[in-house]
């Protein structure tokens, strides 16, 4: 019984982080129809900036929102300076469908190398603000810790913020409109290019938060070739696909499903199978329900 509760709580925590990453991928996909494989690099860079901010201010609480801000800025700059030129340059020819994918990969490599240039290849330790030792109820100690509670709270707060932005503001309406139909939105007076940059900025912030939260929850350190961030990218992608790649709610649900599945496999089957199960989940979703669990459209186009 205790083990079951523990597993669920761990699953929800890591699922919350995967959700953030999935949200980042969905936001980019909605605004530019590109899967941003550089998201892992951008999240890592933001986490490095977060690390510097912690050194500077001595407080994780200040560093976290600032790192998200930095992530948003980096992401917006990449969209402005790089993706626009790229999409314009490669809109034709046999490489058109492949070019954005390859370009974001190149970007991932460049960002990782830059991090290596600046911070070197050694591990940097990033401590969480709260203890990761579980709460004690009676005589048993849960795996669920103050840090995990904080992670869930922060993710929920980010999601509430995003929901309010999308549902209650004009900016949110423009974001939804230009994701749905850029041409018509442009005719209706929406500055679609600007809105795209905003979409990327929001994604950058979400990715930064995912990185800043995953690091203390996971191995606790960062380095340029971090496998943890590659896995974060892959799990974020899987979660986004489960949710249909187009839906923010879907991304959250996808993240939670993936987190729970991973936690249950870890507890009851063993660590060696985690990746294979996650991969199998991806393949099954893509074959059985390619539009995702939320998708209502008859099928995925293009």
């Amino acid at each position: 019984m205790m083990q079951l509760i523990n597993t669920i709580l761990i699953g929800v925590t890591s699922g919350a982080i995967y959700s953030l990453m999935a949200i980042a991928m969905v936001l980019v996909w909605r605004s530019t129809r590109v899967i941003n494989f550089a998201q892992a690099g951008m999240a890592l860079l933001s986490t490095y900036i977060g690390y510097e901010l912690i050194q500077l201010t001595g407080s994780y609480w200040i560093a976290l929102p600032l790192a998200m801000l930095a992530g948003a800025l980096i992401s917006a700059l990449i969209e402005l300076l790089f993706m626009r030129a790229l999409l314009k340059h490669t809109s034709q020819g046999p490489i058109a469908s492949v070019a954005p994918i390859i370009a974001t990969l190149g970007l991932l490599g460049v960002i990782r190398a830059m991090i290596g240039f600046i911070w070197g290849n050694q591990d940097l330790i990033l401590r969480g603000p709260l203890s990761n030792v579980g709460y004690t109820i009676g005589s048993t100690t849960l795996v669920f810790s103050p840090l995990k509670l904080f992670i869930i709270t922060w993710v929920v707060a980010v999601m509430v913020g995003l929901t309010l932005l999308f549902q209650r503001t004009n900016l949110g309406l423009s974001l939804r409109a230009s994701a749905h139909s850029p041409e018509i939105s442009r005719l209706a007076g929406v500055r679609v290019d600007f809105i795209r940059t905003i979409g990327w900025a929001l994604a950058g912030a979400a990715g930064a938060a995912a990185g800043m939260l995953q690091t203390p929850n996971g191995i606790g350190s960062i380095f340029p070739d971090s496998l943890e961030f590659s896995l974060l990218l892959v799990f974020g992608f899987i979660a986004a696909v489960i949710g249909g790649l187009d839906s923010l709610v879907g991304a959250v649900i996808g993240g939670l499903i993936l987190g729970l599945v991973v936690a249950f496999v870890l507890t009851y089957v063993g660590g060696s199978l985690v990746f294979m199960i996650a991969f199998a989940l991806l393949i099954i979703v893509l074959i059985v329900r390619p539009q995702g669990i939320i998708g209502v459209k008859a099928g995925r186009r293009a």
Partner: protein
């Protein structure tokens, strides 16, 4: 020139290809006697990259499917070759054949799922594979964990002479394998399958209306590409004499993709450009790093930086690769001069 004459000439050119390949083989084997050991070893790496890049060009350039996970396919090939060698004590060429078959079988299974996926979904799926698959090798003792397995192709045969070195033997094996696969691939691409892939790439709907079974054509491309990747994996394992998980990192997949884009992803002709570039980049990076003061951070990260920067620059400015770009320019010039 009359049409009939033109056609005849074209046919003649095709039949000459085998002669060309044999001449090519002769030339590079002669060359391998002239240069020092290190160059010979690099030559073996170039041959390995030629096979791996050709595999990506076949898949992405001709059949329009993106794979970011070719490193994982190379790993499968390398491991199956090593397992065959270690447990069955099979001759080297059988190990290579097993590597091709096992990886092709895996590719067929993956391709069946992949044929239903479009660009970004397939890219993400294969990326997931590249991240996860090598780490799985850590979990099974038969695969040797982090240390991996030894893969040794044996001494060069005695009749090649006393001073025939190990590296030269690697090079001979790798280069002849690469030449044979290129020749084979060249023919496949000119067969009806090649035409089918090009038709699907150009316009999927039109191809389907013309009676092409799109799914089947994509799965076939994936299978053949995986087979080639498996062969490249076995060659890689040969040149480093081992297979271990960190020999097939995510960066390997990116490296191969960069090689393919540099070669011109839609033409097989430039494959040697990409392969040579991939082997040369670490050396160039070293030279630059020394020029920049040889600090540790720069030395460790410059190769990765150059690879990624080249990838981005190529996609931005010569998206179809330098070879295709020059051809397009020439065609344009010819068309222009005729108009005048």
């Amino acid at each position: 020139m009359h049409k009939a004459q033109k056609k005849q000439k074209k046919q003649k050119k095709q039949s000459n290809h085998i002669v060309l390949f044999i001449f090519f083989a002769f030339a590079i084997f002669l060359l391998s006697n002239r240069v020092d050991e290190f160059r010979v070893y690099q030559g073996a790496s170039v041959a390995m990259f030629v096979v791996a890049i050709a595999s990506i060009i076949l898949l992405t350039g001709y059949s329009g499917q993106v794979s970011l996970g070719h490193g994982a396919l190379l790993a499968i090939g390398g491991y199956s070759a090593a397992l065959t060698r270690n447990y069955l004590d099979a001759p080297v060429w059988i190990c290579f054949a097993v590597a091709i078959l096992v990886t092709a079988a895996f590719g067929a299974a993956l391709g069946t799922a992949a044929a239903r996926l479009s660009g970004p979904y397939l890219a993400g799926t294969t990326l997931a594979l590249a991240v996860g698959l090598p780490s799985i090798a850590n979990q099974f003792s038969v695969l040797g964990g982090e240390q991996g397995l030894v893969f040794y192709v044996g001494f060069p045969p005695m009749r090649l002479g006393e001073d025939f070195t190990q590296y030269k033997w690697f090079f001979w094996i790798a280069a002849s394998t690469a030449l044979i696969s290129m020749w084979w691939l060249q023919n496949i691409l000119r067969s009806r399958y090649g035409r089918t892939w090009r038709a699907v790439r150009a316009n999927e709907v039109a191809a389907e209306l013309a009676g092409i079974k799109i799914g089947r054509s994509k799965v076939l491309a994936f299978t053949l590409s995986a087979g080639l990747a498996g062969l490249a994996g076995a060659l890689l394992a040969m040149t480093i004499s081992h297979v271990f998980p960190s020999a097939f990192p995510l960066t390997l997949s990116f490296l191969l993709l960069t090689g393919a884009v540099l070669s011109g992803i839609t033409t097989l002709g430039g494959v040697i450009i990409g392969a040579v570039a991939l082997v040369a980049i670490p050396q160039i990076a070293d030279a630059i790093a020394i020029g920049l003061g040889n600090s540790e951070n720069v030395v460790a990260n410059l190769p990765g930086f150059l690879v990624s920067a080249l990838l981005i620059l190529t996609v931005l400015f010569v998206p179809n690769g330098p070879v295709e770009q020059m051809r397009a320019k020439r065609d344009h010039k010819i068309a222009h001069s005729r108009k005048l």
